[in-house]
């Protein structure tokens, strides 16, 4: 029997989708062996109200750490509580998100426990008692199968790989108290600035519309924004050239040194398909490319390519997508 710990990431008192994905991944691992899933959430007082959602996706127990100082990410205090709970819980596996928060938290916890950690994990299995995971290496050009021998095995999952599945369990709430004073943490998040209220995150959006050098300048990015708006469920991405030029913020960059994304639909506009960019989006389910150069490498991986002037094609596509959406 394998009991599994899942760190369910929250932000501003809401669960992030990858938080539910962590619980879903934990349920799948525990379920195969009749084990229990303990989900962990931390946040400002009131975050306990999220417990029912975690129960719905398979948490037997929800460990809740509420504190006024947890309204923002408090790396040292959260790592201390999580390491303590994981150590005490006797888990076979502890699952974290590979996100800005998870990538900061998980290695801290691993070092406190004195074990290794595999991040950006796309699959987890138990084989004869061993924890075996899949982890892309070499910018996604090679897939590694990795064995974790230590108990607990610490893994951080990639977003969009473990679709949340309804599996209601009890979700009994258990409280976790901070260890020491959270206000004494040395690393302090002073401020969080969000890009905009309704903006979908690149890691979670089902559709991504991305622009490259072919847009010719930041003044033309409204075409990308409008196409994303036409889809309705889309986030906007960019290539490294575009973010290096300052046309878009670095946080929008998709690629080897930016975000790795796997949406249902990726629309590449004015993007030639440099290796650095392909590394970040090649696992997208369906890829559309619009580019004036029919020899551009992006067309080698695009399911649907259109060759031509994006300034003519994109407005037509915006209109056609709006019409298709209107027809339902």
């Amino acid at each position: 029997m394998a009991n599994v710990f899942a760190f369910a990431e929250t932000r501003n008192g809401e669960l992030r989708k990858i938080g539910l994905e962590a619980v879903t991944a934990a349920r799948a691992v525990a379920g195969a062996t009749g084990g229990q899933v303990d989900a962990f959430i931390a946040g400002a007082p009131g975050v306990v109200s999220l417990s029912s959602q975690l129960a719905k996706y398979g948490a037997d127990t929800v460990i809740v750490a509420e504190h006024a100082g947890f309204d923002k990410y408090n790396p040292e205090a959260i790592a201390a509580i999580v390491a303590d709970r994981v150590r005490a819980g006797g888990y076979r596996v502890a699952i974290f998100p590979t996100s800005a928060l998870g990538s900061d938290l998980a290695p801290r916890v691993a070092a406190k426990l004195g074990v290794g950690l595999v991040t950006d994990v796309t699959a987890i299995t138990l084989q004869d008692g061993a924890v075996i995971v899949k982890h892309p290496v070499n910018i996604g050009k090679v897939l590694a199968t990795v064995k974790l021998a230590a108990t607990p095995a610490l893994v951080a999952i990639r977003a969009n790989m473990f679709t949340p599945v309804d599996k209601p369990h009890a979700g009994t709430v258990e409280r976790a108290e901070p260890i020491g004073d959270p206000a004494a943490s040395r690393v302090v998040v002073k401020e969080v600035k969000m890009g905009g209220g309704t903006k979908l995150d690149l890691g979670e959006a089902p559709v991504i519309v991305s622009g490259g050098r072919g847009l010719k300048g930041p003044e033309n990015f409204h075409l990308i924004e409008e196409l994303a708006a036409a889809f309705g469920n889309a986030a906007v991405g960019a290539t490294r050239v575009v973010t290096d030029e300052g046309w878009r913020p670095h946080s929008d960059q998709i690629g080897q040194t930016g975000r790795l994304v796997s949406p249902q639909l990726y629309v590449a506009v004015g993007i030639s398909g440099a290796i650095q960019h392909l590394a970040g989006m090649r696992t997208s389910k369906t890829i559309v490319a619009i580019n004036k150069d029919k020899e551009a490498p992006i067309f080698k991986i695009a399911d649907y390519g259109i060759v031509g002037d994006l300034f003519e094609i994109v407005p037509a596509l915006i209109a056609a997508v709006k019409e298709a959406k209107a027809r339902g």
Binding site: A149, V188, L265, I298, I306
Partner: protein, 250 residues
Amino acid sequence: MKIAVCIKRVPDMDVRFKIAAIGNAVDEVGLKFDMNDFDSWAVEAALQIKDKDPATEVVVVSLGTDAVQETIRKALAMGADRGVELKSAQIPFDGFVIAKAIAAELKDGGFDLILFGKQSADSSNGVVGAMVGELLGMPVVTGISKLDIAGHTGSAKREIEGGQEFVEFPLPAVLTIDQGLNIARYPALKGIMAAKKKPLDVKPVQLGEPSVTVIQMELPAERAPGRIIGEGAAAVPELVGLLQTEAKVL
């Protein structure tokens, strides 16, 4: 100020990789190697501090075979003061094993800042920097894209999904560097000549037993070959049709 920068030698990614006969590694024959991109930005961050305060000492540390000396020399050519090779027959996948070796080396060094790249292009695991910070009991800030140091206090910006976090921390501290902090300088000829005379200590390390091991590597399934469906705006209706009926994403 005394700064350590930990760098990794990684293969150039612009190739078709082959799996080695052993089955759990990439065939290194014919690969070109260079400093990991994120690590070059960490070196640059240290050198920008040194540009302002020439009394700053920048020490570059790399773990691996003697081949890493080339990567260390590049950092010295950019302007770092001295190098340390933590000599090991291989670079294990288990970041914790690496972190322990690096922490042991840096523990008594009196460093004000220890910098890492956010992650390496080859193992793509991004864990060593934060682990070293934990092992040394130092404050850690990961994935920073802006950095200011004033006396014994630092402030940094972290990119998070859909926004940014602004973080303050005391020195000494461990930081991992994201894209956007700076653009790494190229070594000038003068720097390349000077680097040959800069000290490079070779220190053999005994790595601990890894708990995380790669048991197999494979090339992921290739995508179906691309398909151009048409030219110009005239192809848009067909595209929308395919997105609705074939891809079922609209």
